[in-house]
Symmetry: C3
Subunit: 333 residues, 3 copies
C-alpha cells in the first residue's frame, strides 16, 4: 500500500488528480500515478495522431465521471485510493467516440455508461467473490456492448461503422506487415500495446511501455512478451493480416500476460509458463469472439482477456504464493 | 403477510382461485388477489380486442399448470400462498399463442413449458441466493426462448412470425405516435403497461393500473412513471416509432420502476432517483437486446427488466433499509 | 469405490491404461475400464467405417493429453483414478478431426484444447460447487466452441464445413428414416447412442451399449430409452428428418437419461418420470440451440444435455436419497 490512508474526500485537487492517474494506470493493473500520466499522454498523442481527438477528451470525461460516481455512491475508500473506480470509465471514454458519432446524446450516453460501470463493477465483484476472481475490465465491456448495440437502432446515437470499424479505419495507415522489415514489425509490436486503449499508434505503445516500466519492470517486460507472442501466433495461424497489423490480436494478450505473470502470481518460471499458455489461448478466444460477434456487428473489446484470465484463475492453482504486493488488486476489488 | 397460514392443500376452491389471482398479480410484484383479478380482466379484454383470444385462455392454462406444478413438486408453501408459483406460467400462456400457431402441439408445449418454469424458478433462485437477488421473470424468459427458438425448426410447432411479430402485427392498429395529439400519447402510455403481458391495448393498461392501485398506490404511480419516462427517452433517442407506439420500449421499464422504487427499496428520494436511472438503462438494454437477438429472430420478452434490475441490485447498496412489507418477495423466493 | 487407493503415479503401464479406459467410459458417467474398452472399440469401428479414421486417433491423443495434464497439474488423485481427467479430452479428440482439416496445426490445437479442458473443468467445478452441480461435458463444449469458431478465420486451422457438417456428411450414408422398416428404425435408435462421440454408426452404438451393460444395466436401459424417446419426439414434432436419421436429436437425450435416472438419483419410478421429462426437454433445447447457433455456424456439441440436466438438478429436489454408489461422480468432481 503506497497510498496515504487519509480520507479520500480530503485529498485536495492534487490528490484527486493522482487518483485519476492511478485510475488510468489500473487498466493495466498498475497503482502508480506516474504510470497513469504516461498513459494519458499516450492516449492524447495517439488520439490526435490518428485524427480521433474526441477519444482523448472522452477518456478524461469517462475517467472523471466513473471516479466521481465512486464518491457519490460512497464506495469503499481503499478502492478509490488505488484508482479502481476509474479504469472502466476511461475505457468507456475511449470506446464511445470511436464507435459512435459526435452528437450531444453520445456524450450524455458516455456519462451514463461511465457512471454505470462503477456500480456494475461492485455488483459483478460481489457475484465473483466466492470464486476468488475479479470482474477485471468486464464492466466496461458489458456496459459498452449494451450502448454500442443500442446505437444500431438509436438514431440520436449513430453507430459510426460496423464492428470492424477500428480495424479497417486504422489499419489503412499501415503498410501491410512485412516480415523482412524489422521496423514495421516493431511498430506493430508497440501498437498491440496501444490498442489496450483502442488506439493504433506505435508512439502511444511506447509511452504506455514507459509508464509500465516506471511502475513495474516485470509488467513492462510481459506487455512486450504478450504483444510479441500473440502477434507471432496470429501470423502463424493465418489470421487476417490487416487485423494483426492494427494490433487487434495483441491487446487482450498483453493484459492476460501482465495479469497472469505479474499480478495474480509472483514472477517465476511456473507463472511464466502459465502466462505464455494464457497468451496463446487469448489469441484463440479473440478469433472465436470475432467470429461469434460478427452477426451482431460489435467489437469484442477486452472480453477475450477477461474470459481467458478467468479460465486460468478459476482452477485456483497454487503456482506459488500470491504476490503480496499486488494481491490488493485481487482481494480488495 | 396478509395471507392465511393454513395448509395450502386445504384452501378449498375459493382459496385456490385466490392463489391463482395472486400468481397473476405477482408478475408486477403484487400479492393481492383483487389486483390479479383486474389483471385477468385486462388480459381477456386485450386479447379479445386485438383478435388474439387464445392468449387469454393460454394465460389461464399456463397459470393453472405452473401453480399445480408447485403443488405436485411440494414446493415451499409460503411461495405458493403468495402466488409465486404462477407468475411465470401466466406469461408463458400469453406468449405461446402469440408466437406459435394454434396446433394441439402448441398447447402441449405450453403445458410443458409452464410446468418447467416452476422448477427452473426454484433452481435459478438457488443459484442466485448467495447474491441476494431473485430470478424475477427470467424462468419465463429462458423457457420461452427455448420453445420459441425450437418452433423455428419444429414443423408441428409452427412459429407464427419473426421476432418482431408483436411489434408489427399490433402496431398497425395504431396511427403513428403524434406528439401534438394528447390522447394518442396517453394511449401509448397505457399500452406500455399492458405490454407487460404482451398485449397492446390502452384499456388493458388502464385495468392493470386499477389493479396496481388497489394493491399499492406507489406501484401504480411508478408503473405510470416507468412507462412515461421510457416512452420519452425512446422518442428522444430516435428509436423506431412503431415499436415505441406499441409500448415495446416501456413494458420492461415499468417492471424495473416498480421493482426498484417500491419492492426492493422503500419509496424515498434516493430510491426514486435510483429507479429513474434504472428506467433509462432499461431502454438502452431493450434496444441492445433487440439488436443482439435479431440474427436469431426471437423477442427479448422481459429480459431487459431482469438484466437491468440485477445490475441495480447486485451492488447491494443500502439506499435505505429494505421495505419490510415487501421484502418477503425478495428473501423467500 | 472400486479402484485402488495406491498413488496414481505408481500404477504402472497397465494401471495407466485402465485410467485411460475409465476416462472414456466417464463420458457416459461410468467408472468401468471394460466399459471404456468397448467405447474405444466402438469409436475405432465407427471412425474407420464412416471414412473418418482421424477421429479415432484424435480421440486417443485427446484422452492421453487431458489425462497427462491432470498428472502435470497435480490435480486431486481420486478424480484421476476414476477417469475424470480424460472424458473431456476424448471428446475434443473426436470433434477436432470432424470439424477441422487435417493439418499439423489442427493436431497442435487438439493437444492445447484437450489440455485446456482439464483445468477448465477444475475451474467450472469450483464455480458450480455451491449449487451442488457439476460441469459435466461442458469444458469440452466450451473449449471446442472457442477453437471451432476460431477455425473460421484461422487459415492454418481450416474449418471443414458449416455447423451441419456432421449431419450432412454422415446422414447421406443412410436412406431416410422409414417408419415401416423396423431395421432402419433400430439402426437410427443405435446411432443416437453412437453420436455421443460424434459418430454415426449403429455398430458403434451397439458396442457402446455392450460397454454400458457391463458397467451398469440401468445405464444401458436408459441409454436405449433416451434414444428411443427423443427419436420419437423428434419425429412427432416434425424436426428435419435427416438430422433425426443421423441421431442428432438423441445423443444429448441419451446423456440426460443416464444422468437423471441412474447417476444423480437412484432408479425409482419418481426418478424415471423425472428422466423422461428431461429427455423431452432435451429435444426442445437441442432444437433451440440448433437455431440459435446457426448464425455463427457451429455445432451444439453436448451443450443441450448440460443445460437440461442443470435445469433438472438445480432445484435440488429429493426424489429419493442420492445413490451412494454413484454420488462420487457428483461430489468429488
Amino acid at each position: 500500500m503506497t497510498t496515504s490512508q487519509t480520507n479520500i474526500f480530503d485529498v485536495g485537487v492534487f490528490g484527486f488528480i493522482k487518483i485519476l492517474m492511478r485510475g488510468t494506470a489500473q487498466v493495466m493493473f498498475q497503482g502508480s500515478a506516474w504510470c497513469g500520466l504516461f498513459f494519458i499522454a499516450g492516449i492524447f498523442w495517439g488520439a490526435y495522431d490518428t485524427g480521433m481527438h474526441y477519444m482523448a477528451w472522452g477518456a478524461l470525461l469517462g475517467l472523471m465521471v466513473s471516479t466521481a460516481t465512486g464518491y457519490i455512491l460512497n464506495q469503499p475508500q481503499e478502492d478509490g485510493r488505488e484508482g479502481l473506480w476509474g479504469f472502466n470509465g476511461v475505457l468507456v471514454g475511449c470506446a464511445f467516440p470511436a464507435f459512435m458519432g459526435n452528437t450531444v446524446w453520445m456524450w450524455l450516453a458516455l456519462v451514463l455508461c461511465a457512471a454505470l460501470t462503477t456500480w456494475v463493477r461492485t455488483g459483478l465483484n460481489n457475484v465473483m467473490r466466492p470464486w476468488k476472481v475479479n470482474s477485471f475490465t468486464f464492466p466496461f465491456v458489458l456496459c459498452s456492448w449494451l450502448f454500442v448495440l443500442a446505437s444500431h437502432v438509436m438514431h440520436s446515437l449513430p453507430a459510426l461503422h460496423t464492428s470492424s470499424h477500428i480495424a479497417h479505419s486504422l489499419a489503412q495507415v499501415h503498410t501491410h506487415l512485412a516480415i523482412y522489415d524489422v521496423w514495421s514489425v516493431i511498430k506493430v509490436w508497440l501498437s498491440g500495446i496501444s490498442q489496450v486503449f483502442l488506439i493504433d499508434s506505435w508512439v502511444t505503445g511506447l509511452l504506455f511501455l514507459i509508464g509500465l516500466f516506471i511502475s513495474s519492470r516485470w509488467a513492462a517486460l510481459w506487455a512486450l512478451i504478450g504483444s510479441a507472442l500473440s502477434m507471432g501466433m496470429a501470423v502463424v495461424m493465418g489470421l487476417p493480416i490487416n487485423h494483426i497489423d492494427a494490433g487487434l490480436y495483441s491487446f487482450s494478450a498483453v493484459l492476460t500476460a501482465i495479469a497472469l505473470a505479474t499480478v495474480f502470481y509472483k514472477p517465476s518460471w511456473r507463472s511464466a509458463l502459465w502466462a505464455l499458455l494464457g497468451v496463446l489461448v487469448t489469441v484463440v478466444v479473440q478469433a472465436a469472439m470475432n467470429v461469434a460477434m460478427k452477426p451482431v456487428g460489435i467489437a469484442t473489446f477486452t472480453a477475450p482477456f477477461c474470459v481467458t484470465t478467468w479460465l486460468f484463475l478459476l482452477p485456483m492453482f497454487q503456482l506459488d504464493e500470491r504476490d503480496p504486493d499486488h494481491s490488493s488488486w485481487h482481494h480488495r476489488s
